[in-house]
Amino acid sequence: MSAKKRKVLLVIGRGFDVRTLETARRLHALDADISVWQLVFDNGLGDSPKRSELTATNHEGLLKLVPAEKIVAVPIEIGGPVGAAVTPRNTKASLDRAGDCRDFDDVIVDISAMPRMVALTAVSVLLFKLDKLAEANGPSVNLHVTTSESVSADLGAAKGSLRDSVTFVLGFSGHLEEQTTQNWPRVWFPVLGEGQRDRLHLIQDHVNPDEICPVIPFPTRKPRRGDEVVGEHRDTLFDDFKVEPANILLASEYNPFEAYRQIFTAMERYKKALKPMGGCKLFVSPLSSKLLSIGVLLACYDHKFGKGSSDRFDVGIPYVETAVYGDPEQNAETADFELHSLWIRGEWEEPIPATASAAVTAAT
């Protein structure tokens, strides 16, 4: 980034989370030409004084990093505790209205302060747009996703109540309601984190899977984290869902691309194994860190839109949104988090100059 002044679009959430400005600060330090789309969420319920104050502080911090005229507010109605799930559809519509990405060298989606359903929808919508732009011989714009990871900050931000219905990421329904394939076996991969018991039950009731393959974080910074996640959901997994220990998958907490590989490969195995039954329906619920959620999303995206996908397989991504946030239990002074950046598409996929590899065609 420092080699030349790049035009960067930063897509960021307007929120209370202590991690909201970390990416903006880093970009500011690199002297990038930054424009911001600030996603402003509205669930129609208003915010508590504490959350309002934290959100306002974060916004003031952003104004110190980026001139006000380069910040575009992008309102998104995300709906209240009951009623139709509108978040994915509204997120896409808002991003469509916000503008064009083609004028930028890099689009960076900082999902640290975004509700998960907004984050997953935003990344998949922008990825699809930029892929199509490049396929149509337009510019190949880089897409990056950043997130400031902290288990304690996630838990501190997650206080609140859940919606009463299951929502699917836009474009990833898994054909759950399709009548002609109602008899196909359903396999569900819940990617587990802390405090997900209620979400698990809601999604399980909705999807009604024949087989469950929980994904546990391992390796992790805190080496017992995987065991603690299993212990916390023990009765749900082993007593209620009757999960076979052999069905448990492991996904590196550090590396979402390895989580991608685990989940993508497991899905591929089920697709092949269940072909004699006509087919199968696959579902993934990203209930762990946001970093792993992006790995999960990419696995689903590549099954449907990836260059290696022959059958455009629609994996469902069911999730239960937070309806009402409680006041966060985070401390900006002591928050211990690590900024991760994932380069999803763009220049890394492009060829290198033919002269660079002396014998590039000798054996190919």
Partner: protein, 372 residues
């Protein structure tokens, strides 16, 4: 012992109410089935819950047993076979491949981020084939490493041991030459048909002393020092590697901070005339894993109690670690169990051997058997 009998015994030893018994029994059964029963050194027919009942029974009833049980529930760190295999699977894509890509990018003078194109170059494929992977012990699981990377590596460049016979070494070089001919589209030069990356794999170290340590005479000993010395000599693997620009990459699947610090502080002082030595860990246990004097004082109180230590555990190998094995070899204080054996860097109470006066929860089979 039958499972229900073992559970009744456990409930009696712990003096659990019916409510406590129901809750704890469900938890223990789940984790026994999920992980703990796979411990490979349990004697035939013996399983975790029975071992736990007998282990807790050696402590004085009441507070001591509750603290010991609490340690098992809150601090025990058991790395299962599946978890270890997962770490093996992560080794190539997260450590080896990025090194090869970065070196190839430097050679070609291109942006190292262009990974998709770089891995298609002859230069990358040449470096990949010039990589020799060797196991430092049985725990290296080179069989699993090989199966996890079938598209990336040839069988002939992965070997389970670092002590390679002369014919094997010569065979590896012949295979390397044959494959390079295909990759390059020509016969490789002699200097090309030599390994440039030596990857040394092992499963675990708690202290790092068996890998490298001062020999007391101004030199070095331990596995790494011996291998580096061997690679500098003529013949065998010394002839199979290039004369310069060689990277030795030591990769441990699991390591404690104490070991990482020990190895990293010594490696720069170790001379390797043909190149460099790097050290990587797939899963670092971190600073919170060793038992802490303050927060873990109840279990450390039992560890310190002479009733729960057999002096027989301290042998000549303890001297290398510099302390008694009561708190684990080299005072590592780990609460760690590996599915195939408990490391002696863990507290003695976890791994006390079957022929000793104290009962271990996951009894260890020692590498250093005493002569009878």
């Amino acid at each position: 012992m039958r499972k229900d009998l073992a559970e009744s015994l456990l409930a009696k030893i712990m003096e659990w109410s019916d409510e406590e018994k129901a809750a704890e029994r469900a938890y223990l059964e789940s984790f026994a089935s999920y992980k703990y029963d796979e411990y490979q050194q349990f004697s035939p027919g013996k399983r975790f819950i029975e071992s736990l009942a007998l282990w807790l029974g050696q402590f004085t009833g009441g507070e001591e047993r509750r603290e010991a049980y609490n340690f098992v529930r809150k601090r025990l760190l058991f790395i299962s076979t599946d978890e270890m295999n997962h770490l093996v699977e992560l080794t190539f894509p997260t450590i080896i491949r990025p090194i090869l890509i970065a070196d190839t990018a430097t050679e070609l003078g291109v942006d190292p981020h262009k990974v998709k194109a770089i891995v298609d170059t002859v230069e990358y494929r040449t470096r990949l084939r010039q990589t020799l992977v060797l196991g430092l012990s049985d725990g290296a699981r080179t069989d699993w490493f090989r199966r996890a990377n079938p598209q990336e590596m040839s069988n002939e460049q992965v070997f389970h041991a670092y002590d390679v016979s002369d014919p094997k070494s010569e065979g590896m070089v012949q295979d390397l030459r044959k494959h390079l001919t295909k990759i390059l589209g020509r016969e490789p030069h002699d200097h090309e048909a030599r390994f440039r990356y030596i990857v040394l794999l092992d499963d675990f170290t708690g202290s790092g002393t068996s890998f490298i340590r001062e020999d007391g005479q101004g030199g070095w000993t331990g596995k790494i020092a011996k291998i580096v010395s061997g690679l500098m000599k003529a013949g065998n693997l010394g002839d199979a590697i290039a004369n310069s620009g060689v990277k030795i990459i030591i990769i441990l699947y699991v390591a404690g901070d104490q070991a990482i610090e020990h190895i990293e502080s010594r490696l720069p002082k170790l001379t390797f005339g043909k190149g460099t030595v790097e050290f990587e860990v797939v899963h670092k246990l971190g600073e919170t894993t060793p038992l802490d004097d303050a927060s873990d004082s109840p279990i450390l109180g039992l560890v310190a109690d002479d009733r729960y230590f057999d002096d027989d555990a301290d042998d000549e190998h303890s001297k290398v670690g510099g302390t008694s094995k009561r708190y684990g070899f080299a005072n590592c204080r780990l609460p760690l169990v590996l599915a195939h054996n408990t490391p002696n860097n863990s507290i003695y109470l976890l791994w006390a051997e079957d022929d000793q006066s104290v009962r271990g929860l996951f009894p260890r089979v020692s590498r250093h058997r005493k002569l009878q």
